[in-house]
């Protein structure tokens, strides 16, 4: 039982990170009906930015209070990563809007490769480690919970609450949902659709950057290829939850996190990534609209 609860805690941690990434997939899909395959690499760029900021902070100030370091890392990563995603949308996706359906998808795969190659060339191909930032571990009734895990879950929860408010209670969120449901009508009401789409990419990137920072803190290492596997898992989470659905992305993220930690604990840690890929295949076959998704896929 203790072991099981321990896995739940681990799963919740992983699931938080996947959920944050999954939102970016699902929002972009919701608004322009496209799978942004470069989103995993946007997450990786976020993690790398956080790493560089950490190294600069460490070099400049020696030891920095952990809260300050994390905050600065997150904010810089959010800003820079948003800029990347904003640029990618503007340069690579927007000109193809209204083109045949596969065109933006192929471009997104191209952007994914370009981003990971860019980081490989500029940062080198090896794993980049950082010294452990947070190492406290608490023992609660035989279950060990690390401070890292607490930070991840709390940051995720706060961010999701803010994000929920933004989407459901502000003019910007309303405009986003309007564009998602009927872009042409939104424009007839004076909504700048292109700008709204840009903001969506920025929001998705900002969440992915936070996920990247948390990922770096959790594992203490990042490499140029780290966009791929977490990216696919988060994409699976988005599909499992129902692509286009924001609560679905969070739910899917948590489920994938739980499945992964249970799988590693009870079956085989070597094959933990296989679990996510298998789920993706199974969901696509048997439950294509996901748990909270809408069955109709056609766009107006």
């Amino acid at each position: 039982m203790q072991y099981f609860v321990q896995q739940l805690v681990n799963g919740l941690t992983l699931g938080s990170i996947y959920g944050l990434i999954a939102i970016g997939y699902t929002m972009v899909y919701g608004i322009i009906g496209m799978i942004n395959f470069a989103h995993g690499d946007i997450f990786m760029v976020g993690a790398f930015t956080a790493l560089i900021v950490f190294l600069i902070l460490a070099a400049a100030f020696g030891s920095v209070p952990i809260v300050v370091a994390l905050l600065v890392m997150m904010i810089v990563a959010m800003l820079l990563t948003s800029l990347y995603n904003w640029t990618i949308e503007k340069v690579a996706y927007r000109p193809l809007r209204g083109s045949f359906r596969l065109a933006p998808l192929i471009t997104a795969i191209g952007m994914s490769i370009a981003l990971s190659n860019f980081v490989q060339v500029t940062q080198g191909p090896r794993n980049k480690p950082i010294p452990p930032m947070v190492s406290q571990v608490y023992n609660i009734g035989g279950i060990s919970i690390s401070l890292k895990q607490i930070i991840i879950v709390v940051v995720t929860a706060v961010l999701l609450a803010l994000f929920w408010y933004l989407v459901n209670r502000t003019a910007l969120g309303r405009a986003q949902r309007a564009c998602e449901q009927d872009r042409k009508m939104a424009a007839l009401l004076g909504i700048d659709v292109d700008r709204t789409i840009s903001i969506t990419f920025i929001m998705g990137a900002a969440l992915a950057a936070v996920a990247g920072t948390l990922f770096l803190m959790y594992y203490g290492v990042v490499s140029f290829s780290d966009g791929f596997v977490p990216g696919v898992k988060a994409f699976t989470a988005a599909v499992l939850g129902g692509i286009g659905s924001l609560p679905g992305a969070v739910l899917g993220g948590l489920l994938i996190g739980f499945i992964e930690s249970m799988w590693s604990a009870y079956f085989s840690i070597d094959y933990k990534d296989v679990a996510a890929f298998s789920i993706l295949a199974i969901v696509l076959i048997f439950l294509p609209s996901g748990i909270l998704g809408r069955p109709e896929v056609e766009k107006v």
């Binding site: 309007a178 007839l188 009401l189």
Partner: protein
């Protein structure tokens, strides 16, 4: 700009791919008028309404609104000049509540006049008030029609485009809507350009009317004249409900 029409459509050709839907249309709407556009199915009426917003864009010709050339202006900027439309198919946001749909209508002013204006819409369509928290997609056809018109009014338009406002509504509601249009026109000077299948009602309501056939305007005149015109009567009025 005295004397110039509020909306002036000149020589507009619009295509869907290679298919021509509008073939050199000339239509003007003066400030304070109610102008009706009638014509058979597929004549190009809805296309004209949407071409005013640049969606689809006119391939040739010009469209001016209050003296500004809007032919190439982005759709949302055209809307910001205070042209509102209740388009064909109503286009209610299906997963937004009635309130959110109305709020979307008031986006131009950031909801500044929302409370005041929404009361006016509720006076016009009390049903919407009862349904305020219902999702747009679950409303009945008639309720959606009311919401679509209400949403357009929330934008405080100078020019209101209505594409078949009476479609799918019970005769009593149609009468209410036509009365409401007349009232808004009379008391607030709202300029209205409407497309109608209900030619009789529309021409009776309208200051002037246009008849469209196959992407061309073939006739125009005052509502009264068109109503009396034997060709119009034969094509659009006989057999209809009077």
């Amino acid at each position: 700009m005295a004397g110039a029409p509020l909306l002036d459509i000149k020589g507009v050709h619009t295509y869907y791919g290679n298919i021509r839907a509008l073939n050199g249309v000339n239509v003007s709407v003066n400030e304070g008028e109610i102008v009706a556009l009638i014509g058979a199915n597929g004549a190009g009426k809805s296309t004209l309404m949407m071409t005013v917003f640049g969606a689809p864009r006119a391939r040739t010709g010009t469209i001016t609104f209050a003296g500004t050339d809007i032919t190439q202006m982005p759709t949302h900027e055209i809307a910001r000049l205070r042209i509102a439309q209740s388009p064909e198919g109503r286009r209610i946001f299906p997963r937004m509540t009635v309130m959110e749909n109305l709020q979307m209508g008031a986006s131009l002013d950031n909801l500044k006049y929302y409370d005041e204006d929404v009361e006016k819409v509720f006076t016009l369509f009390p049903r919407l008030k009862e349904r305020i928290n219902q999702r747009g997609g679950t409303l009945s056809g008639g309720e959606q029609q009311m919401l679509s018109i209400g949403r357009a009014l929330m934008a405080r338009p100078k020019l209101l485009l209505l594409d078949e406002p009476s479609l799918g509504l019970a005769p009593l509601i149609v009468k209410q809507i036509f009365d409401a249009i007349r009232e808004l026109n009379r008391t607030q000077g709202l300029t209205v350009f409407l497309v109608e299948q209900n030619a009789f009602g529309a021409l009776k309501l309208a200051t002037r009317g246009y008849v469209m056939v196959n992407g061309n305007v073939t006739m125009s005149g005052t509502g009264k004249d068109l109503l009396a015109n034997p060709e119009v009567r034969a094509a659009y009025l006989e057999g209809g409900h009077h």
